[in-house]
Amino acid sequence: MATEQLKQEIKEALDNATLGRTLGNFCRTYPGRRLTSYAGVDFESNREDLRSVKAEAAEHVDEMIEMFTKNCEARGGHVFHSHSSKEASDYIRNLCKELGVKTVVKSKSMASEELHINKLLGEDGVQCDETDLGEFIIALDGKTPVHMVMPALYLNKEQVADLFNDNTEYQSKPEIPEEVRVARKVMRQKFLHADMGMSGANVAIAETGTVFTMTNEGNGRMVGTLPKTHVYVFGIEKFLRRIEDARFIFKALPRNGCCQRITSYISMYTGASEVTLDKETDERGPKNFYAVILDDPGRRKILEDPNFRQIFNCIRCGACLDVCPAFALVGGHVYGSKIYTGGIGTLLTNFLISKERAAQIQNICLQCGRCKEVCAAGLEIPEMIMKIREKDLQESPDKVKKFALDAVSDRKLFHSMLKIASAAQGIVTKGQPMIRHLPMFLSGLTKGRSFPTIATTAFRDIFPTIIQDVKEPKGKIAMFAGCLLDFVYTDLARDVILDLNSIGYIVDFPMGQACCGCPASTMGDTENAIKEAELNIEAMHAEDYDYIVSACPSCTHQLRQYETFFEEGTDMYKRAKELSEKSYDFCKLFYMLGGLADEGDGVPVKVTYHDSCHLKRSLGVFEEQRELLKHTKGVEFVEMDDHDQCCGFGGSYSVLYPEISAPILEQKIENVQATGADVVAVDCPGCMMQIRGGLDARNIPVKVKHTAEIIAEKRGLV
């Protein structure tokens, strides 16, 4: 649930103009730049290989630790296997004492940040310096990283110049090349005189005892070349068995992380490599080399949990952040575990840092699924975040959310509430207190979006008046309307029926149907989701129909999930499975049943298309509707930029986080306008409500129509 503190942090992030501009720009251009860097590389097959080598190491983690230890020690290294972050930090602190270390230079190690080692060593009188430029800047600013790969992008060059001028002996103009030169001078002195270098590993190879570090700036190389003592700190998730396995990681990491085919430096250290011991005498010899393996209970918990074990496959590339519509707006400070940010950060925070913090920040996820598409290891990030959400709701059910959910799952209460809303239309649209009593996802009277009109007559009452003139029907389809078609977009529900009639199918409307349960599932309320599934399985009676059609992808997705709610072999499972298997989204079904035809009134209309997250990424439907539209006579089809980027609706999300939802919608509207289209076609009534509301509030005369409506209109079925 959104706490006041989190709300405040979100507000601060949104108010930071630099963050908005830099991060926004970065995230906008990221998908294209990333794709370019993958030219000639098969992302999917690398993803499979990467997953398999990572999973193999995770399954044999104890063997990996033992093998790495043996091989690293055989080459003169020292290995410390720590069972908690405290053990690890104590070991390093003692080491510094024993060796008389007074200064440490660090190249990025997120594991060492888990230990709070900079602070602890500082207490011992040891000066610890971050050497990555971004890390160095945020350390001067006293802040934590805003992004895993680009920690300082919330600051502009003027602010960086101020930080340098106030905190270093050099003066810099607010020009980036000069600032970089100043950083080089400042850090160079630190590299030359540091007693110890501390690094993080991207990969650790068990068979050879080798650790890898990837950098662009060369600070990793400095840290590994100059100081006489070198300490690596890394978690047990970094292991791989064979040296060749590492190639899958370094094929994905630079491309996903910084859209580069490779970074400037990839360095592999095996044991105690040589170092210059005395620069005056030119004496050289093996360095003091230590590998501190972090094997804390949080990491073991991830490994033990079959739902979360895949987190071990993460290579910390940050791609899930770069494509996240919410992250693009608020950045990493809001995710606030101070170390790990974004989608994967929410999960890592849950296990490694703070469960309480994770429970809050998981709310920021829209469940749009974009992160899963680009993940180097194919992690099911949205599903895992949902699991955390479910757990959180079970452990501390929030009263406000629960109220809305209980109402939605109680069909009579829900329907009567909607009818009251309908009768009190004037009040609702003017934003009076009435809206508080609507189900969360319908009470979205937020800034920059108009609220839709609730139908005066529900579709369930209209249905019996529709005449279905189908000669020699090919089959019978049951319609699952879902809340928005039943109570708001009743014309759309009618058009779905007319379209299906036109290709020879009769459509039925089982009256007992209730909310699909998606809002409950999205909020993590499995109890109510199951209750609704039971109601609908009973009501829809899938056994009597050839297909179930829905014109809302979120409903379709939910119907298709029903079988997972029940134990295999039970009667409910069998019935749920039949319903799941017969359920299709309108476009898919209409296309499948031969609906594609070169028909239409030929009147010119320019149409662009917005992909719903559920339809594209959960149901995998994105070609059929485009084909249907392109073949419609009169339609000139034009793609908009970021057509599969979330519109910001996300069910109850737009109500819980209007401050994030609104700017996401703003971007969508800009992209729509840029196409010069007359109509935005959509296949999701939620997206329709969101985008239509946004256009309407801005008085932009672009229409938003469901594909089913466009087909009915252009083919003269209405």
Binding site: F26, C258, R261, I262, D282
Partner: protein, 183 residues
């Protein structure tokens, strides 16, 4: 080992240029002159040189000194703090990425490659491997990992301020690969 083909050389060169580096091709006989010329062009009046049999045979050190460059072949850690140039031989190249691959136990090879402003990496044409994957297969075949293996692709870089790509942070500001034709 057979010498590098023109096609492979061009691939290596264009990929290195894509990563912000530069590349020249020369014979062993002209190696000294080439390296000295590059340093002069950059304005490097002092440099550290990590010698290998090839570098010695080609007389690189003498050629640099003849060109008036203050050249250090020992005490590299010390002189590396102020030298403008650095030069060493790397074990391999990867054409697909324009990458130089170091495989050294000698720390001096690493010091000259990271400390000075301008680094020149000498690589034999016959040791340039076509692809990234093949390089990893090659490493996998080694009986023992060298204490240090490093891939270097272009000069050091950052995008940490306002996401603006900027060349030259802690490592070299400029990098040139000199590909030597095998005799």
């Amino acid at each position: 080992m057979s010498n590098i083909t023109d096609e492979l050389y061009e691939r290596f060169k264009s990929n290195l240029e894509g990563a912000g580096g530069s590349c020249v091709r020369t014979s062993k006989a002209d190696l000294g002159k080439t390296v000295a010329g590059l340093f002069k062009e950059y304005g490097a009046d002092s440099a550290c040189l990590c010698e290998t049999p090839l570098i010695k045979e080609a007389g690189v050190c003498a050629a640099m000194q003849d060109a008036g460059i203050e050249t250090h072949t020992d005490h590299i850690r010390k002189y590396g703090e102020t030298a403008i140039g650095g030069c060493s031989q790397t074990a391999f190249g990867i054409a697909e990425l324009g990458t130089l691959v170091q495989a050294d136990t000698d720390v001096r090879a690493r010091e000259v490659a990271i400390m000075p402003d301008y680094y020149i990496g000498i690589v034999k044409g016959s040791t340039i491997i076509p692809t990234y994957d093949e390089m990893f297969f090659e490493i996998g075949k080694w009986k023992e990992m060298p204490a240090f293996v490093g891939f270097i692709t272009g000069p050091s870089r950052t995008a940490d301020i306002e996401c603006v790509a900027t060349i030259g942070v802690h490592g070299p500001l400029k990098l040139t690969a000199v590909v030597v034709d095998d005799e």
